[in-house]
């Protein structure tokens, strides 16, 4: 029944809450073993989509299949095949690490004889062995996050849904967490993960950008960056960055100048970077501002998404 190789198939999925359309005709497919990133600002409909895929919400219309199972008609089987980590930390504070693992092992129906093995695996994977007897309340954010992930994979589900798993966790813990996600993907698990940290997008095999209930872009990070045709980005270093900024503020073709590290990021309103660079150099020389470096740079994921969202808003107007 599940020979098609898709972990998630969404077709024309809609969820309405009264007049509000939270998810607006979304369609996409995620192959098995992929790390699929789900990006977008708060309120874009990411959590609603994930909750429908986990069988926690019923779709208004359209269909979705997880591991070949229909979310509307087979929610019970779906729950055996997924691991879910909700946005809010949701383990029991007053139980120890091991007791939480025991409980979730039980409700996921892990057979008694396999439970010690799964528990040890999770403790090892989450690198949380030394805290096994600690009350969950006493753990810091990074530990809790890893434990929550561990509890969601006790039954070794083929598909994992992680809803903003790294929100509120420090950068080092976040990097460690993404390493775990990669390990899971390498052992054949599909990981469907939402985030609003743009830098995390780079960790994903493929991305979908969701905005106001719609998927406005979908593809591998590199593809999406190449697809950015409405803008180009320049790196500008100068001993007098503030003067340079002021000089460029009213230069034609420059749509934005921002301080970035020690230098400036100059955004051009078109794809013709060479012409733009000449224009910038000209403007700065006219004011006698020295330029130590000026070159075209690869846009960040954030640049890509800001540009796409702006384009989407222009379309709406």
């Amino acid at each position: 029944m599940n020979s098609n190789g898709w972990a998630v198939e969404i077709e024309d999925l809609v969820k309405r809450f009264g007049d509000f359309v939270a998810v607006d005709h979304v369609s996409m497919r995620v192959p098995k073993g992929e790390i699929f990133g789900f990006l977008g600002p708060n309120g874009a409909g990411k959590s609603t989509t994930i909750r429908m895929l986990c069988g926690l919400l019923t779709p208004t219309s359209g269909s979705a299949r997880v591991n070949g199972l229909d979310v509307a008609t087979e929610p019970e089987q779906i729950r055996r095949n997924i691991g879910y980590m909700s946005q809010k930390f949701s383990l029991y504070d007053d139980l120890t690490v091991e007791e939480n693992i025991d409980f979730f092992g039980g409700v996921y129906g892990v057979p008694r004889e396999r439970r010690p093995e799964r528990r040890d695996y999770v403790l090892r994977m989450a690198n949380i062995e030394e805290k096994r007897k600690a009350l969950t309340r006493t753990l810091s954010g990074g530990w809790k996050q890893r434990l929550a992930l561990g509890c969601a994979i006790l039954h070794d589900p083929p598909v994992l849904f992680l809803d903003e798993p790294t929100s509120g966790v420090d950068p080092i813990a976040r990097a460690g967490f993404w390493a775990l996600i990669h390990d899971l993907s390498e052992t054949g698990h599909t990981v469907f993960v939402s985030t609003h940290y743009m830098d995390e997008a780079e960790y994903c095999h493929r991305l979908a950008l969701m905005y106001r209930g719609k998927v406005i872009a979908l593809g591998a990070p590199a593809e999406l960056k190449k697809g950015l045709t409405s803008h180009s980005l320049l790196q500008l270093d100068s001993p007098h960055p503030l003067e340079a900024m002021r000089a460029l503020d009213h230069t034609a073709r420059v749509s934005d100048v921002a301080v970035f590290g020690g230098g400036l990021h100059v955004t051009l309103g078109d794809i013709d970077a060479e012409g733009g660079m000449a224009r910038v150099r000209q403007a700065l020389e006219a004011k006698g501002i020295e330029v130590t470096r000026l070159e075209r740079i690869e846009p960040s994921m954030e640049d890509v998404f800001v540009a796409m969202i702006e384009a989407e808003e222009r379309k709406a107007e």
Binding site: C54, G55, L56, L57, T58, E76, R79, R80, I82, G83, Y84, M85, S86, K88, F89, S90, L91, Y92, D93, D94, L95, E99, D102, F103, F104, G105, G106, V107, Y108, G109, P111, R112, C151
Partner: protein
């Protein structure tokens, strides 16, 4: 339904209970406190009524009458006064509850078969106590006056004159008419209802508030397993409470246990099931823990206290209220407990009540499970 998942919930809930030592201590101490407090305070007995005597007759007979009062355990003579005004003042200051005024010529008039009214003055601000005290005093005076009259007439010749009717009352089941015997079994029912509903009223609302419910809903755990697992964990606490209450009732209040202990245990279990399921239902219907707690108190304490017949007799209530009391499970449990403790009633008499409790538990269980199911969509 999977036993494995149910067991996981049960163990997890037991761990919550044990870890929250303060709540557990409360849950076990509250029944004892309530039992002792209500058991002693809710006494409907009138005992050792402080009484002033104004003996205007001053004869052998009137002193004998006073001795009758002194000999009764219902009255305590706190002093003698010369005029009735002193009694009024003492009642006004709440120093005494009752005054007895024996009129001049009491012994002579009584001996002649004439009316010689002994005056009883009472503090009516507690009308219940006052009317009971009046009853005791009237009986005492009437009996003594009758005895006195026949004695005097005997002395003047004539045969012994027996009082026309010699009524002897025999009260069954609670032969000493001690109100504690009546109050304590009912109290056990009320306490268990409150404790059970409160124990469980937070359990699901808390999971929603903490966000753990969202996590649980994504697992294969079914509402049935969750409701049963939670109920069975709190059932352990409820059973401990019941045992404590019965032991205190028997030990401290010396309430007789005339019926079968097994029937007592079985009916307590059935009642606890219903009460615990009710708390879970309230918890799954409420939006917050606070709301769940308030609804839990309101729907357990008030009906159990007022409509169970535990102190307030259901027969004296307006018909509409009587009708409502028919759906209050505590009412049936109060009847069962009084039956087992005081009358030694068995299944043959109590099967109707027990059947209702079982039906109630089943219905509330289905409601709670359905409610939880609906929250999914």
């Amino acid at each position: 339904m999977s036993y494995r998942r149910l067991r996981a919930v049960w163990i997890k809930e037991l761990r919550h209970i044990v870890r929250d030592a303060r709540s557990l201590a409360m849950a076990l101490a509250v029944p004892v406190m309530m039992l002792v407090l209500f058991g002693f305070a809710l006494s409907l007995d009138v005992d050792r009524i402080p009484t002033l005597v104004c003996d205007q007759d001053g004869t052998q007979a009137s002193r004998d009458l006073v001795r009758q009062f002194q000999g009764s355990r219902y009255f305590t003579i706190t002093g003698f006064v010369a005029d009735t005004g002193a009694i009024d003042r003492a009642i006004d200051r709440s120093q005494v509850l009752m005054g007895v005024v024996i009129p001049r010529d009491y012994s002579r008039d009584t001996g002649l078969g004439r009316q010689a009214p002994v005056q009883i003055l009472l503090d009516g601000s507690d009308s219940n106590t006052a009317s009971i005290a009046l009853g005791y005093a009237e009986t005492l005076v009437r009996n003594y006056s009758l005895a006195l009259r026949s004695q005097m007439q005997n002395r003047r010749g004539g045969g012994a004159l027996a009082p026309p009717v010699d009524a002897r009352l025999r009260v069954w089941y609670n032969s000493s008419l001690e109100s504690k015997n009546y109050v304590v079994p009912g109290l056990i029912a009320v306490i268990l209802m409150i404790i059970a509903a409160l124990l469980t009223s937070l359990t699901i609302a808390r999971e929603w508030e903490m966000g753990t419910m969202e996590q649980i809903l994504s697992t294969p755990l079914r509402p049935v397993e969750m409701v049963l697992g939670k109920m069975l964990a709190y059932f352990v606490v409820g059973l401990a409470d019941a045992a404590i209450a019965v032991v205190v009732g028997l030990g401290v209040f010396q309430v007789p246990l005339r019926g079968s202990v097994l029937l007592l245990a079985v009916s307590t279990c059935v009642f606890l099931f219903g009460a615990l399921f009710w708390g879970i239902f309230v918890s799954s219907a409420a939006r917050t823990q606070l709301q769940a707690y308030q609804i839990g108190i309101l729907t357990s304490f008030l009906p159990a206290f007022l409509l169970s017949g535990f102190v307030y007799s259901i027969e004296d209530m307006p018909p509409v209220i009587q009708l409502i009391s028919r759906i209050v499970p505590a009412r049936y449990f109060v009847t069962i407990l009084k039956g087992i403790f005081l009358k030694g009633s068995g299944m043959r008499i109590l099967w109707g009540e027990l059947g209702f409790l079982a039906l109630y538990a089943t219905i509330v269980f289905l409601l709670a499970t359905r409610r939880l199911n609906r929250k999914l969509a």
